[in-house]
Symmetry: C2
Subunit: 421 residues, 2 copies
C-alpha cells in the first residue's frame, strides 16, 4: 500500500468560506488519484477521527463538492475540542494514529485556528515517534484573523465585509430616523480578544461617503465619560451616529462590559450581550433614543455577501495544502503573503507549524486612531483588499442553493470503541 | 399657475426599498413636466412640510435619482410624527395647506404605513374645506406588511428575504457546531403586532432542504413547557435547531416576553431584547448551549440582498402614484394585486384611502401551523414570490455604492415659523 488516503477535518467556529477550503482541498486531491487515495473527513471534526467516524467524500459527486465553494459553515461538522498536551493525554494521540493506520491515512489536513495548529503539530511529531509517520498540514481558518505569519486568515474577509456593509446600511437607516426618533445604533460584533472585526465597521465610512462611526475595541479599556463625550459630539455634528462594539470590550477594571450582573425579577442571573449595555449607557448618559443589534452567527455565516478575495484565498489554501503534501512537506501551513496593496497582489506562502502553534497575532496599535474610537489609514489599507469583490452563490426561489452532503460513513475497521472525554 | 408642484414625504420606519419608490415617483414626475412642476421632498418627512423645510429634488441629477433605486433608508429623512385628529389639532393641517399653497403644490404624495394613510386622507379632506384642493395620494410602505387591500407592502419582501436567508445561514452554522457546542440559535426579528417577518424565517426550510426551525409568533401566546418540549424534540431529532422569535411575543399573562424586569447590579432597570430571554429559558430548561442574535435595523436596511420583486413593486408604487395623480385621482393608494401564484403575476390596483386608513391587516390564522411553531403551505405560497429574485446594488471597493443626495433646500416663502410639538 504505497498510495495513502487523506484525512480532513474542520475545527472550531465555522465560517462563510471554510467549505471553500474543503472544496479546494478535495478537488485538488481528486486530480491526483495516483498519489492520494480517498479523502476521508472527520464527522464533527477531530472527534470523528477519535471515534472512527469517518466520512467518505469520494461518495459525493463532483457537483456537490463544487457547491461547497459557495456553501457556508462546516459541511462535515466541526467541534470545539482541544486535544490536551501529549503528556496529559497521550491516549488520544495514540488513538488518532491507530485510526489513521487502520484506514491507511498518510495525510492529515486540519482546518482551523491556533489551537488546531498546535494539535496538527503534535500529531505530526507523535506519528513519527510511534513509527507511523504522517504528513500533517494545517490549513488556516478563523474569523478572528489571529494566526501569525499569514497576512490574513480565510473567513475573516467575509465577516469584515458583512460588518462593513451592515454598518453602512444601519447608518443610513438611523440617519433617516434621527430627527424625531433613533439617534444612535449600536452593533455588537465578534472578537473576544482582538478588534479585527470591529475595525471592519469603520470601513463603512469612506472619503467619498463619510459616516459618523464609533468603534469600541477590546484593545482599548472602556472609558464611559470619553465615550459619552464622543457620542454627544458625533450626534451634535451629524444628528446621529453608529457604534460598533466588540463583544470583548472591557472596562478599566478588566471585566467584560457585557458582564453587568443582570438579574431578572426573581434575582436570577441573566446573560445579555454588550450591545444593550452600551445602549443603556447612552440612554442614561445622554437620553438619546437608540436601537441595537447583535450580529452573532449571522456575521460569520453570511455566505450570501462573502468577500470574493476571501473565497479565492480560502479555496487556494485548500489547494495549496494538498500540493504541499504531494511535495512531501510536513508540519507546515499554507499562508497568504501580501505582495502589494495597489494593486492588491498576494501569493501562497508556507509557514512551519512550530512558528504558528500557540502564537496569537494581535491587531497592531497603529491600526487604532489616537482617540481609541476609530481606525487609521494603515488599517484601512490593510482591510480594503480583504473585503473587495462579491462572490454570489446561485439562488433558487429567492434562497441561496447551499449544498448538504450525504456524508456517508466509512465502514469501521477497529473493533474498539473510544470515549471522547 | 395651472401647473402645480408636487410634495413627497417619507414617513415612519424606513426600509430597504422606500427610496426605490421615491425613484419611481420622481422619475415618472420628471417625464411629465408639462403637468407636474417640481417635486419637493419634505426634509425629515411631514415635519419638513410643517416647518417649510422643503428639498428641491430637481437639483439632483438624473443619475442620483436613479441611484435611489438601489439605496436603502429614507434619502430625504423620515420621521415618527403622527398628526393628531382634525379636531385636536386643526392648526397643523392648516399650516400644511398654507405651506403647500405658498409653494404652489397641488399633489401630496405620502409614503408610509397605516398612520400616514390616515394623515393623507385628512389632508385631502381639509384642503377642500379650506378652498385649496390637493390631490392626496398615499404610497404604501411598511416592513410590517399590515396595510389592507394591497396583497403585500413594499419593504416587507426584502426583510422577509433577509430573515429567510439569515435563518438558513445561521442554521447551517449551528448544525456544524452542535455536536460539542451550540445546539440552539435564537434570532430576534421585528414585528410587534403581527408575525409576518417571523414567518419568513420558516421559508429557510424547504422541501428539498428541510431544517429544524421553531417560530415564536406574536399571535401565539408563549407557553414555556410546550416551547421547551418542541426545542427538545427538534434537538433530539436533528441535533440542533433555530428559533426565530418576533419581538412582540407575549406570555399568557399578556406581557411582552422581552419585558422581564431586568435589573443591573445597582437595581436599575435594563432594557434587553427577547432573544436573550428565550435563550435563557432554553439554557435553564434544557441546559443546551445557545447563541442568539438580534437583527434589528440590519433586517430592514439590507438593500444588499433586497428581493427583486420587492424592488420592482416599490418602484411601481411610486410610478403609479404619479400616474394616478395625472389622471385626477384623489384620496387613493396604489396597491399590489396578486393575480396568480404560479407563475407569480401581479398588477397595480387602486384603493380608496377611506378603506385603508386605520385598518390593520393581521396575518391569517391559516398561515400558522396547528402547533403554533411553524408556517403552513398557504403561508409559503403567499411568501414565496415576495422573496424571489435578487437585485444587487453596484459596488465599489467591496461596498455598495449607496447615494447621498445633496438635499438642497427650497427658499422659504412664508415669513412665519412653526413649532412642531
Amino acid at each position: 500500500m504505497t498510495k495513502k488516503n487523506a484525512f480532513y477535518a474542520q475545527s472550531g467556529g465555522v465560517t462563510a468560506v471554510i467549505n471553500a477550503t474543503a472544496c479546494g482541498l478535495i478537488e485538488t486531491a481528486r486530480k491526483h488519484k495516483d498519489k492520494i487515495g480517498k479523502v476521508y473527513a472527520g464527522r464533527n471534526g477531530i472527534i470523528g477521527a477519535l471515534t472512527e467516524d469517518l466520512i467518505d467524500t469520494s461518495r459525493e459527486p463532483a457537483s456537490a463538492i463544487a457547491a461547497l465553494r459557495h456553501t457556508p459553515s462546516g459541511a462535515f461538522g466541526s467541534c470545539r475540542y482541544k486535544l490536551k498536551g501529549l503528556e496529559e493525554n497521550r491516549r488520544e494521540y495514540e488513538r488518532l494514529i491507530a485510526v489513521f493506520e487502520a484506514h491507511n491515512i498518510g495525510y492529515f489536513f486540519y482546518n482551523g485556528g491556533g489551537d488546531s495548529a498546535d494539535t496538527c503539530l503534535k500529531v505530526s511529531q507523535l506519528s513519527e515517534q510511534l513509527g507511523y509517520p504522517m504528513q500533517a498540514i494545517h490549513v488556516p481558518k478563523t474569523v478572528d484573523n489571529d494566526l501569525p505569519i499569514t497576512d490574513n486568515c480565510p473567513g475573516f474577509g467575509s465577516v469584515a465585509k458583512y460588518i462593513a456593509i451592515s454598518t453602512l446600511e444601519a447608518s443610513y437607516d438611523v440617519a433617516s430616523m434621527s430627527k424625531t426618533s433613533t439617534k444612535v445604533f449600536v452593533l455588537e460584533v465578534m472578537g473576544r480578544h482582538a478588534g479585527w472585526i470591529a475595525a471592519a465597521g469603520g470601513m463603512a465610512s469612506t472619503e467619498q461617503n463619510e459616516l459618523p462611526i464609533i468603534i469600541l475595541f477590546p484593545e482599548v479599556a472602556f472609558h464611559k465619560k470619553r465615550f459619552l463625550d464622543k457620542v454627544k459630539a458625533m450626534v451634535k455634528q451629524h444628528g446621529y451616529c453608529s457604534v460598533v462594539v466588540s463583544e470583548g470590550v472591557r472596562g478599566r477594571d478588566g471585566n467584560f462590559l457585557a458582564d453587568q450582573g443582570l438579574r431578572d425579577a426573581f434575582g436570577h442571573a441573566q446573560l445579555g450581550g454588550v450591545a444593550p449595555v452600551v445602549a443603556n449607557i447612552i440612554k442614561k448618559g445622554l437620553g438619546y433614543k437608540y436601537h441595537w443589534g447583535v450580529a452573532d452567527y449571522l456575521q460569520r455565516s453570511a455566505r450570501h455577501i462573502a468577500s470574493k478575495s476571501d473565497v479565492e484565498q480560502a479555496y487556494a489554501m485548500g489547494k495549496a495544502a494538498v500540493q504541499f503534501a504531494l511535495k512531501g512537506h510536513n508540519s507546515v501551513m499554507p499562508t497568504i503573503d501580501r505582495i502589494s496593496n495597489k494593486p492588491y497582489r498576494w501569493k501562497v506562502g508556507m509557514a512551519p507549524l512550530k512558528k504558528v502553534a500557540n502564537v496569537e497575532k494581535m491587531m497592531p496599535k497603529s491600526f487604532i486612531s489616537r482617540d481609541g474610537f476609530g481606525i487609521t489609514k494603515r488599517c484601512r489599507e490593510y482591510l480594503a483588499p480583504l473585503i473587495r469583490g462579491e462572490d454570489y452563490p446561485p439562488y433558487r426561489d429567492g434562497l441561496p442553493r447551499y449544498v448538504r452532503l450525504k456524508n456517508i460513513a466509512v465502514r469501521k475497521k477497529l473493533d474498539t470503541s473510544f470515549k471522547v472525554k
